[in-house]
Amino acid sequence: MISDLFSFTVLVGILASGIRLATPYLYAAIGETFSQRSGVLNLGVEGQMLLGAFAAFYVTLTTENLWLGVLTAMFVGALMGLAMAYVTVNLHAEQGISGIGFFLFGLGMSDLLFQKLLGTVETVRGFPEIYIPGLSDIPGIGEIFFSQNVLVYGAYLLVPIAWFVLNKTTLGLKIRSVGENPDAADSLGVSVIRVRYFTIILGGTLSGIAGASLSIALLNVFQQNMTSGLGFIAVALVYFGAWRPVGVLGGALLFSMINSLQLWIQVLGINVKSEFAVMMPYVLTILVLVATVSRVRAPAALTKPFERES
């Protein structure tokens, strides 16, 4: 029944899982924001997430140490980022296409490792919920905001940090100048290459955490292609959020809330074709891109390799 949706518990449930589901989008999209602000489109996010998700899951399963799992995922993501940086910054490879290459690599590699090292779908005990004393007791609000696991809190903490770094620090200024006018930045002594390496590796690291958040904090399993397009949506969210961390947060929340609503509609057995419910977020993303993209400008040097005039 549609009216079931409006009961207090269901509404709280939808909002709480919406907050939780935004986690992987936030890590990946904030990372992508950094690399795009420096002028690099990293389309390999999906592949980085998949490998990160597998690494975190496997290490957690074998060592039972969740933090070691997260660290391994970060390391794997950073390695993928390093390779991406070399290929796009030093070799000037077309960014969109090399990203697809890294996506296919991560897709195949994580599947290969999964089949060789695990073979079957197993589960791990993921990060437990942390109930913030006092606040988590508030009815509704407590369950929505203050009863999540540590990676969820981390994702939301990342947003103001990213905003601060991008807008209030010298590093952020360098990143932005490299993305807007690399020649000018270069002539002022900013190393375009070093800045881009930094942002791409940071993006990879955060994508690794995004993958880990799926496999050891939200779903606690690993399956082939478990991200199923999530990494690409994270890239879309950067455009959606107009290259600003707060905008990305808005997009991620909108997307995850609709997703959560869609899941609850299925749980409650409301008579909406589930295919259309699943489709909804994608249609909405396109519509919002239409509505917003023509009004905001991308970093001027996005997708353009940097070459010093000789």
């Binding site: 490879a93 290459g101 690599f105 599947d111 396109i286």
Partner: protein, 386 residues
């Protein structure tokens, strides 16, 4: 060895290296693959032998390779058009699905018409379906500045859900509709509607159609005004606009045509291989990831429609061989997906050397024009150039 030096510096040698770069890229990927196999405790020689045998070991195996190569080539042809127009179409998966849905609908609806007519109509319907699914991101890019990479990825996800909905509802096989299991699939096509087989294997007419279309796309891109304009817009949209080309129109056309070929690929899969549509809920369940692998094949063929033919056969062989590798040495076929990714990365990375040598060649030509070298040397260079 001055003679050898001359060979290395000569124009034709440098062009030869350019042509072979993708081959080197593949070899590099295979070497990395061998390292991975060693790490997995598998003898790489045994694995690659199984791969080769599976792809080329018998006439049936080779036919299977060509069957797998067909959708890759069709998708690759579309990719040649869109990438030449500087439009990145990642939506091959969705375009294949929609093309297949359109074609299947024709095949299941006009059961009273003669076979050749229905096949023709179905292929055209597939072309149209793909064109629509590619055209939408085209319009969004040209007139609303929506990044086509993102919109085509979204369109893929939407197409999968549409397929799942149609195959479990309006288009479901009537015999499944009454069962409790309700397998999401359409009814089987009539036997007269199947694409004819070429030799007594699974190889079907679609392969021949794809090869002929490769030549047509070559003509389109390099011998017609339409193709010239698509390429001009791809190389320099600003100059094209000054030259009076309606840039937006050609962006839409590039994506629309690109989608159309992918749609045709979907249609040939239904009419030549499966004879019905069935879904496991994912896009690769129907396409076998041809929408992505077609991009790999096109890049490998250096975005040239005719070179895309051998490239598609190569990747078709890898896909078929991967299955036999999985059977014989128990290496998951996912390895080939990872290797495909590496090939893409290596091919785009090696572009830098091609560009450098191109620049060098141009510099040499320029130098010659500015200060003519002694006559006998100049003659030698001219000889090599011809």
């Amino acid at each position: 060895m001055p003679a050898m030096n001359k060979v290395f510096q000569s124009d034709w040698f440098s062009r030869l290296v350019d042509t072979l770069l993708p081959v080197f890229a593949t070899l590099a990927a295979l070497v990395l693959g061998a390292v991975m196999l060693l790490l997995l405790n598998v003898n790489p020689i045994a694995a690659y032998t199984a791969l080769w045998e599976g792809a080329f070991g018998s006439s049936n195996a080779f036919a299977e390779t060509l069957v797998k190569a067909t959708p890759l080539l069709l998708v690759a042809l579309g990719i040649c058009i869109s990438f030449r127009g500087d439009v990145i179409n990642i939506g091959g998966e969705g375009q294949m699905i929609i093309g297949a849905i359109f074609a299947t609908w024709v095949g299941l609806t006009f059961t009273g018409l003669p076979g050749w007519l229905v096949i023709t109509l179905a292929m055209l319907a597939g072309f149209l379906g793909g064109a629509i699914w590619g055209g939408i991101p085209g319009v969004l890019k040209a007139y609303f500045r929506v990044n086509e990479i993102l919109s085509t990825v979204m369109m893929n996800a939407i197409a999968v859900q549409l397929m799942n909905f149609l195959l479990s509802g309006p288009m479901i096989d009537p015999s499944q509709a009454e069962l409790a299991s309700r397998i999401p699939q359409t009814a089987r096509l009539l036997e007269i509607f199947r694409l004819p087989r070429l030799i007594p294997t699974r190889l079907h007419l679609g392969a021949l159609i794809a090869v002929m279309l490769a030549i047509l796309v070559y003509i389109l891109l390099w011998r017609t005004t339409l193709g010239y304009r698509i390429r001009a817009v791809g190389q320099n949209p600003h100059a094209s606009r000054y030259a009076g080309i309606k840039v937006q129109r050609y962006i839409v056309l590039a994506l629309l045509l690109s989608g159309a070929f992918a749609g045709l690929a979907g249609a040939t899969q239904v009419f030549g291989v499966n004879y019905r549509m069935i879904t496991d809920g994912s896009s690769s369940g129907f396409t076998g990831s041809a929408g992505f692998n077609g991009i790999v094949a096109a890049l490998f063929g250096q975005l040239h429609p005719v070179w895309s033919i051998p490239a598609s056969i190569l990747f078709g062989a890898l896909l078929v061989g991967a299955n036999s590798m999985q059977r014989v040495v128990q290496v998951p076929s996912a390895l080939v997906t990872a290797l495909n990714g590496l090939v893409v990365v290596f091919v785009v990375s090696s572009e830098i050397w091609r560009k450098r040598r191109q620049r060098k060649r141009q510099a040499i030509v320029k130098q010659e024009n500015e200060s003519p070298p002694p006559s006998d040397e100049r003659q030698a260079i001219q000889m090599e150039g011809t």
